[in-house]
Symmetry: C2
Subunit: 257 residues, 2 copies
DNA sequence: CCAAAAGTGTTAAAAGTACACCCATGG
DNA sequence: CCATGGGTGTACTTTTAACACTTTTGG
């Protein structure tokens, strides 16, 4: 019979802790989906697995969460230790994957994070490889290795990392219109042109956007929201010099309209 | 010195598992933000804590994840055991909170979930209480207990549940325009009017929307996306009978435009 | 002088907004 | 017969989209 006193019910909190101490707790890891734009294409950084399970398949880099660090802390450690990336890297949580058998060895719950860097060359370790992402059908992607001796094509990742990738790409595409993530792809956020930004936009969304309209409206919107300002200076190239802009918005979010 | 062979590096996966077995693993819980609309206001279901930490404060219901269940499974169990809700309840993952000291007792990582039910009366246990949400400033909410003898006002929840609530409300408001979550609030999704749906819309977003336009455009958009259809029948009330609609879209997502 | 790259302008269609008008029902 | 709730129409503004035109540079 159910007790009417909330006290008794709430006591189950502590009881459950004692009880579950005898259970085996799950491992908790973070997995990182590190993106960049390479030659006008969205790309993801992967590592090859050298042992079972999923031996010889590519997968996302990951790391266990230590006793005294948060998931964000684990991602930072992963970035500096496994990818040897120093300095501030943009990351945001994607979502958590907890299927009981997602790792055949042990029960592992993984918190997936998205990361963005402006240049593939920042990752400078031999065990990480870049793959450009070609979206074919809905929810289906073809990965082509960059800098490979031959064009290695990878269609299936280890664990549930395919699903993670799919969700991450949707997230990037969804957020590019009303957040400032686009600026995280910029090699020089203090001096860039509308053309540069447009290329990134097209790489991420996978669809073309009219040049003139992008310059007029998109850049204007960014300015109205105080994210960028014209540095007035001009750049060099083949044709007419382009206006240059500087990214000044901290990491503030701006909701459209 | 860094090894050039990815194999050696990858081996750390297994090494780390062995190593971490000696660590204490974190507890992993799910916390549920169960929403409903009560008298034209968005409301959240909370429980009072009867012991430290955060004794006498209100907090979200939660549960530990068991060895052989996913986070979604834990949420289902939480819904049926602690809230005594049977049948299919709409839930979606919000995000995971992993600050080292978010629970002063133990290291607990929590995966927060949003849930939506159409009627407060579905929760029928004495330890759960409904609070309407009045958004005052940005990121600040006042909670007013429903059915309380006196109007109890709660401004601060236990643990990091305030932050969870804030993020959850933002999520609801953001998604109401391009997903079908609005229909999860409907008491009868097979027979409802534009007015009913408009009331929910206003309750969730906290802002008024023109009646005529809602009927014309919003309902039309839903129909174009195959989410609802006119049942042709009319309903009863004071004024002119209203067209009734039926929700037919599974749980498909529709991106605007 | 011409091709290339980039800024700016023009126009039409689509979407959003405000508000008015008419319809059907219950008291 | 009138207040009330609900459908529908209209006019206006804003946004989006397509494309043309002009400016500036390098070869």
């Amino acid at each position: 019979m159910k007790q009417n006193n909330p006290s008794t019910e709430q006591g189950s909190d502590r009881r459950e802790i004692r009880m579950l101490s005898e259970y085996k707790h799950p491992y908790v890891t973070v997995d990182l989906l590190l993106f960049s734009v390479i030659d006008g294409q969205l790309a993801i950084n992967l590592t090859v697995r050298d042992e079972e399970p999923f031996k010889d398949m590519y997968a996302l880099p990951g790391s266990f969460i230590r006793e005294n660090e948060s998931a964000e802390g684990a991602v930072e450690r992963l970035l500096s230790d496994k990818l040897e990336l120093s300095g501030q890297i943009y990351t945001e949580q994607l979502m958590t994957f907890s299927d009981v058998n997602r790792d055949p060895r042990e029960r592992v719950i993984s918190i997936a994070y998205i990361g963005i860097i402006p240049d593939k060359a920042m990752v400078n370790v031999p065990w990480m490889k870049w793959f450009t992402i070609q979206s074919s059908n809905v929810g289906s992607y073809k990965l082509c290795q960059v800098d490979g001796d031959e064009s290695f094509i990878c269609t299936c990742l280890g664990f549930d990392h395919d699903k993670m990738l799919e969700i991450a790409i949707d997230r990037l595409r969804g957020k590019i219109d009303y957040t400032d993530i686009i600026f995280k792809f910029l090699k020089d956020s203090k001096q860039f042109t509308a053309g540069t930004l447009r290329e990134i936009y097209q790489s991420v969304t996978g669809q073309e956007i009219n040049r003139g309209n992008f310059t007029k409206y998109q850049m204007n919107t960014y300015m109205e929201h105080g994210l960028i300002k014209k540095t007035g200076s001009i750049s060099i190239g083949r044709g007419r010099p382009a206006d240059t802009y500087s990214y000044i918005g901290g990491d503030r979010l701006w909701i459209k309209y």
